[in-house]
């Protein structure tokens, strides 16, 4: 968390390896584009040329393909060697060579590389002299397979463990890139060497196809960007997001050029401005080649960066958009809606009166005045922001993290914030600004990232100095996030004691349970099921571990034995043995840790804490009756909580 610029962290990725991999992909794409150009784009168009011209052109294209295939094989061998070295952490040539067999036969990377080499060899054989269309078709199929295999090396395939939407999108992206980028070279060849009408026919065909293909590139890039970047803060706050934005911008310009080529320049090739159109077209194609290279370089950098969704975004501005201010106060909400309507009017007015020339200046002036009136109120849509405002807690609100925070709080925070967090610690009086009451509901209006900023960097006092010191030097990141988890858990617990509900809704602290068959379950694994967490010895000797609820839902019981209890699996239910669970759940229910035995919790399929019951003095709790328990679980399923909003905890979908 240093500085406000996202870091370009290419360290750890071998630059030479990246370069060689890029060269292979470039050769692969051009290997697809040349046969695609011959087999699809100018399939019958070459018939307009004289026989000699056609053969010469076909020979040139065949030579281009052979060069590309040779380049592929060379680059692939180099990539294989460098990758083997990276995999095995080898420092000598001998170590690298001895790792090669293991890489070729024992890794997915190796299998794909062998497949791609085979495809290149098949394409070479299929092409022959390149004098028959069928041969080009064969080469095209072989190259298409090689390009699809390249998608297997990508992030989408790795994430979904197989052919998922992201890897299909990756494949589409590569095929489109090859068809288009690889076809630019042959197109340039045809434009420069073939006579006018043939060149025009080829260009017409290419433009029509290019429009679809660049559109496909843009759509697949957009989808991948959405999956791997995720949201606006990550688009502008991570190095990965910047590269994705740059690449999308380039693709947008390419699409615009493709549109111009298809609808403006290509039809003009037959008219009386043919030479002008042809020159313009050549220039556009040259620009497209350069932009294509730029896009590939952006993609290159992307491959060395961790994707946005796995990175904490650094927000670069002092303000950020938020609906918190207007959500609280209906008057403010009205003011903002009013301002938006005025702004809409300010935009619509000049647009509507544009045709009436005489009114243009008047309406422009009116629009400016309206905008000047509206803008101040729109300021309510922005709140103060910090570089870490959009940081997410990496702890997943785990019980272990809450317990870590509970250990640190008395020594680090209680001096000012008080033993119970009410802002009444012994040192509170000495501070320029009173310490915050950490038990107030206001805590939930601040995202984790903001709490992290204040905790790490401190809060400056209005007249100089510090109202709160920064702890980044004293505590590790994990400890800081643990304190935030602890404060949230305790806050939820005290509000629970006060009015018997968790408002806003609270995620259940994460725990891990070991089952009789040796498997381990985390709460995250149980998403989609209702979970009952029982502290202390259960009422009946063998609680049923899983109760089906109909509609594919189930109720799973996890046991947390008492501090001195045995950890044997009773009745097959899975056991949570970490003492942190007792600390965490006692906090969220507002009870002292010693009183947690006999308490049960119900957690809904989305991970929210929904209800709790306690057993007092051997009087059984209502849920100890299986029918009542089932009814309570079904009731919870019938009333799911809204996904967004609620507590801070970011819900990671279990997969």
């Amino acid at each position: 968390m240093d500085g406000t610029l996202p870091r370009f962290d290419l360290a750890g990725s071998d630059l030479l390896l990246a370069l060689v991999r890029g060269c292979f992909v470039a050769a692969l794409l051009s290997g697809l584009g040349v046969p695609f150009f011959r087999s699809v784009i100018v399939r019958h168009g070459l018939g307009r040329m004289a026989q000699g011209e056609t053969s010469r052109l076909e020979r040139d294209l065949a030579l281009q393909l052979r060069v590309s295939l040779a380049a592929q094989l060379v680059a692939l061998l180099l990539w294989l060697a460098l990758q083997a070295r990276a995999f095995a952490d080898a420092s000598t040539v001998v170590e690298t060579v001895s790792a090669l067999p293991r890489v070729l036969t024992g890794t997915q990377f190796g299998h794909l590389a062998v497949g791609q080499a085979a495809c290149a060899a098949i394409a070479l054989v299929a092409l022959g002299r390149g004098d028959r269309l069928r041969r080009w078709d064969g080469a095209l199929v072989a190259m298409a397979v090689a390009v699809i295999l390249q998608a297997g090396h990508g992030h989408g395939y790795a994430m979904s463990e197989g052919v998922g939407r992201l890897s299909v999108s990756d494949g589409v992206h590569l095929l489109c890139a090859g068809a288009w980028l690889g076809g630019l070279g042959p197109l340039l060849t045809v434009l420069r060497s073939a006579p006018g009408p043939a060149g025009a026919a080829a260009t017409r065909s290419f433009s029509a196809v290019a429009l679809w293909v660049v559109g496909g590139l843009l759509l697949s890039a957009g989808y991948q960007g959405w999956c791997l970047v995720g949201d606006l803060p990550r688009l502008i706050g991570t190095a990965y997001g910047w590269m994705v934005a740059a690449k999308l911008l380039i693709l947008g310009v390419l699409l615009a050029l493709a549109v111009a080529n298809r609808f403006a320049l290509t039809p003009a090739l037959d008219g009386n401005r043919a030479t002008f159109a042809r020159a313009r077209l050549l220039r556009n194609v040259a620009i497209e080649i350069l932009l294509g290279i730029a896009a590939l370089i952006a993609a290159a950098l992307l491959s060395g960066l961790p994707p946005g969704i796995h990175t904490q975004p650094v927000w670069p501005f002092a303000l950020r958009p938020s609906l918190i201010t207007v959500a609280e106060d209906p008057d403010l909400k009205r003011a903002v809606v009013q301002a938006l309507l005025i702004l809409a009017l300010a935009v619509a007015l000049p647009a509507l009166t544009w045709p009436l020339r005489r009114l243009r200046w008047v309406s422009a002036l009116a629009a400016a005045v309206l905008a000047w009136v509206a803008v101040p109120d729109l300021r309510l849509l922005l709140v103060e922001a910090y570089p870490t405002s959009y940081f997410e807690s990496p702890t997943g609100f785990a019980a272990a993290s809450i317990a870590r925070g509970a250990e640190l709080y008395p020594g680090q925070c209680a001096g000012c914030h008080g033993a119970f967090g009410r802002g009444d610690g012994p040192l509170a009086g000495t501070l320029p600004v009173p310490p915050a009451d950490l038990t107030a509901g206001h805590l939930w209006e601040h995202a984790d990232g903001e709490l992290y900023w204040w905790l790490a960097k401190g809060i400056a006092a209005p007249r100089g100095g510090w109202s709160m010191p920064g702890f980044a030097g004293r505590l590790t990141d994990d400890e800081l996030w643990g304190l935030i988890d602890f404060v949230r858990a305790r806050n939820a617990g005290s509000s629970r004691q006060a009015d018997s509900s968790w408002s806003p809704p609270l995620q259940a602290p994460g725990v891990q349970a070991s089952c009789a068959d040796g498997a381990t379950l985390s709460l995250g694994d149980l998403r989609g099921k209702v979970v009952r967490l029982v502290f202390g010895p259960p009422a009946d000797a063998a609680p049923v571990p899983t109760i089906p609820l109909g509609n594919g839902m189930a109720l799973v019981t996890l046991l947390v034995p008492a501090a001195d209890g045995n950890a044997a699996g009773e009745g097959g239910a899975c056991i949570v043995s970490d003492p942190a669970a007792r600390t965490a759940y006692a906090l969220v229910s507002g009870l002292p840790s010693e009183s947690i035995d006999g308490v049960q919790f119900l957690i809904d399929p989305d991970g929210w804490l929904r209800a709790t019951q306690a057993r007092h003095d051997d009087v059984p709790a209502p849920w100890d009756d299986p029918r009542a328990l089932r009814e309570a679980a079904l009731e919870i399923c019938r009333h799911p909580l809204p996904r967004s909003g609620g507590s801070h905890a970011h819900i990671h979908a279990a997969d």
């Binding site: 890029g22 290997g31 060069v67 380049a71 990276a86 995999f87 090396h153 790795a158 992307l302 272990a400």
Partner: protein, 127 residues
């Protein structure tokens, strides 16, 4: 166009290759640790028989490993890091008998997208 001029365009594929600096796929991303058993920072009453780690991406087990070392530096794992059959995103290593104390788990993961990540965490076995 003369022969030498358009032959210059033959260099196009090679020039492209030379100017590029990596793959044209979408991300190269990295396998991040998603779940750990035993969990990071946990206190266990019974010594675990194995350490199983779950990652965000499928792994190449041939080049991924987990090492578990006790507080005094002794190796606690049986050096049999392997993938879990049926789940390409999990890695597991079996442990010898563990005495009470603090243990450090260090993992090196190679994703099928060829990128490597590593990390470590501690857990404690209580007497």
């Amino acid at each position: 166009m003369t022969g030498s001029t358009w032959r210059g365009w033959l260099l196009a594929p090679i020039v492209l290759a030379g100017l590029l600096a990596a793959s044209s796929g979408p991300a190269g991303a990295h396998a991040a640790l998603k779940s750990a058993d035993p969990a990071a920072g946990s206190l266990l009453k019974t010594a675990p028989g194995a350490v199983t780690l779950g990652f965000s991406e499928a792994l190449e087990p041939a080049f991924s490993s987990i090492d578990v070392v006790g507080a005094d530096g002794t190796e606690a794992d049986l050096k049999d890091s392997a993938g879990v059959p049926g789940d390409a995103k999990r890695l597991t290593v079996h442990l010898g008998p563990l005495k009470p104390g603090s243990y450090t788990v260090t993992w090196h993961a190679t994703s099928v997208d060829t990128h490597k990540t590593s990390g470590s965490y501690r857990f404690t076995v209580t007497p």
